[in-house]
Subunit: 314 residues, 2 copies
């Protein structure tokens, strides 16, 4: 299979280069390998030990610490690094990109990443930013798996004027990895993800920090009695700190906007608790159920109680 | 087996009366039945349709809408109702309680429940308040299962002067249901649960409400792209509204104290985002990992990535 032979029925690339091989990069590698979506997979990382681990895991065909060498001859390059490093990576690979190559990323922030990367990319490539909305709390090349993207959404944010054929090819690739694909502007993406992903992470990190700093309740008690709700937040708060620091540094306006809304609403609940306003609490606690039902209806979460963690045996 | 024959090796009761048969009550019924912890289970509910459903499910031996009739001859009575109803239930059952009976509850709040119930209980019973720290987002008699309490903590808060033998018998019962048991004061319980359970529920309800009210992001988008973290919160926010309204109305001081701390800490993160203070963000995001490890180390959560929701197949 060569690049020019790829079709919607047989999506894929001749030479797929992955810059960065953490949870997302290594899941792309595994998925592409398992589903025959690349003749050759080239892997490049910044740290030698990560590259060595990728080689041990057999995630690719070619391994190099030199990003410029890695992208040579690639018809698709996917950058999977913390979003704060996107610009630097684009600058390094820009001069080596082949004419007609698709360049993409997997960043959780889009407007800022586009602004970082676009200036360094030559006119003869197709820049199609992407964000697979999938992940786990684990990180690194060992954490990835081929099914990570199954039934999850991948959002593409192609700049105006992007070649529709390049968008179609990358869409077909993500669909073949198991994803559903949607297209929107980077700015809208950043608002959507601020509320569905960034603020949830921020408040999860925050409550775990609050719990750790209490004088009246010990850390050991917090850990023992975490099954009442807290433990769910600790999973999210175990996510990669570098990745998440970068998300908050690079999606500031949308995060501050959504955080402001969250805090405003929280004050309403705080006041209801203070003044014993049971009606407000009950109404709020009832209205939220519809969204949960919507998520289960479209299969974006398991309907098993407690995420299936406490299996019913009888 | 009769009450007097019960031993730590063979814990249980002759006649176990359950007032309320929702998620927790019906899990106690199923667990007690499965593990032979009661010769007879009497079930009483306020609503006829709930009692009828309990009968269809075969959760007990005797069914009655009259709580006074239900407690007659019981050597253990466990009240499993929203905490706001604890006082009214205690008032109704008080006159019918047998001498030497253990009276307990399962409320997520302890100081207020003790204050509600104690005045209505005769001196000839043993009042041993309890709180099994376990649950799912589902409610009602169909939601219960015998394994709900396995490896979870049950906290007892016996008032000073409670007969140690009564405490030991109830402890043995909860251990036989699968729980680990710890004793503390009601006031300390309420602080511990405020941070490990009540605030997590409040902020989960809150963010789902915030997401539902946005003008810039549609509810359909929130639902579709929820896999980035938000969906976890929707599970908790699907919990029983009446139960949770009552928790916040009856644990006000501890909830306001812990919520104040949470908001204070959140402002620190908000300021770090606003001023691009990556060091503060990174430090906070790193420190929270130790608590997650502690929870996994003592088996209070699954170590499977993403709670095991996205199974690795290859």
């Amino acid at each position: 299979m060569t690049a020019t032979e790829a079709t919607p029925e047989r999506p894929g690339f001749h030479r797929l280069t992955l810059i960065g091989i953490g949870l997302i990069g290594s899941s792309i590698a595994r998925g592409a390998r398992a589903r025959g979506l690349a003749d050759e997979i080239v892997i490049s990382t910044r740290r030698p030990e990560t590259l060595e681990r990728a080689r041990e895991l057999g995630l690719g065909d070619v391994y190099t610490l030199d990003p410029l060498e890695a992208v040579a001859g690639a018809d698709c390059v996917i950058v999977s690094v913390p979003v704060g490093s996107s610009g630097a990576v684009a600058e390094m690979i820009g001069p080596g990109l082949a004419a007609g190559a698709i360049v993409s990323d997997v960043g959780s922030v889009k407007a800022d990443v586009v602004a970082q990367m676009a200036p360094h990319l030559p006119d003869h490539v197709h820049f199609v930013p992407a964000h697979p909305v999938a992940g786990t709390e684990h990180s690194g090349p060992d954490a990835g798996f081929a099914e990570l993207f199954d039934n999850k959404w991948c959002i593409l944010t192609p700049p105006p004027g992007t070649d529709p054929e390049a968008v179609a090819r990358l869409s077909a690739f993500w669909r073949a990895l198991g994803s559903k694909v949607e297209t929107m502007t980077p700015e809208h993406h950043d608002m959507v993800l601020a509320i569905t992903s960034h603020i949830p992470h921020l408040i999860a990190y925050n409550i775990v920090g609050t719990a750790a700093d209490l004088e009246t309740v010990t850390e050991s008690e917090v850990i023992k009695f975490s099954a009442g709700g807290f433990r769910d937040f600790t999973r999210i708060a175990a996510s990669d700190p570098t990745m998440w620091r970068d998300v908050f540094l690079h999606n500031r306006p949308a995060v501050l906007e959504m955080l402001g809304r969250f805090i405003e609403d929280l004050f309403v609940l705080q006041r209801a608790v203070r003044f014993g306003d049971g009606e407000t609490l009950f109404r709020q606690f009832t209205e939220t159920r519809a969204i949960r039902r919507g998520i289960l209806d479209i299969g974006q979460d398991t309907a098993a109680p407690d995420f299936g963690r406490t299996p019913k045996k009888g």
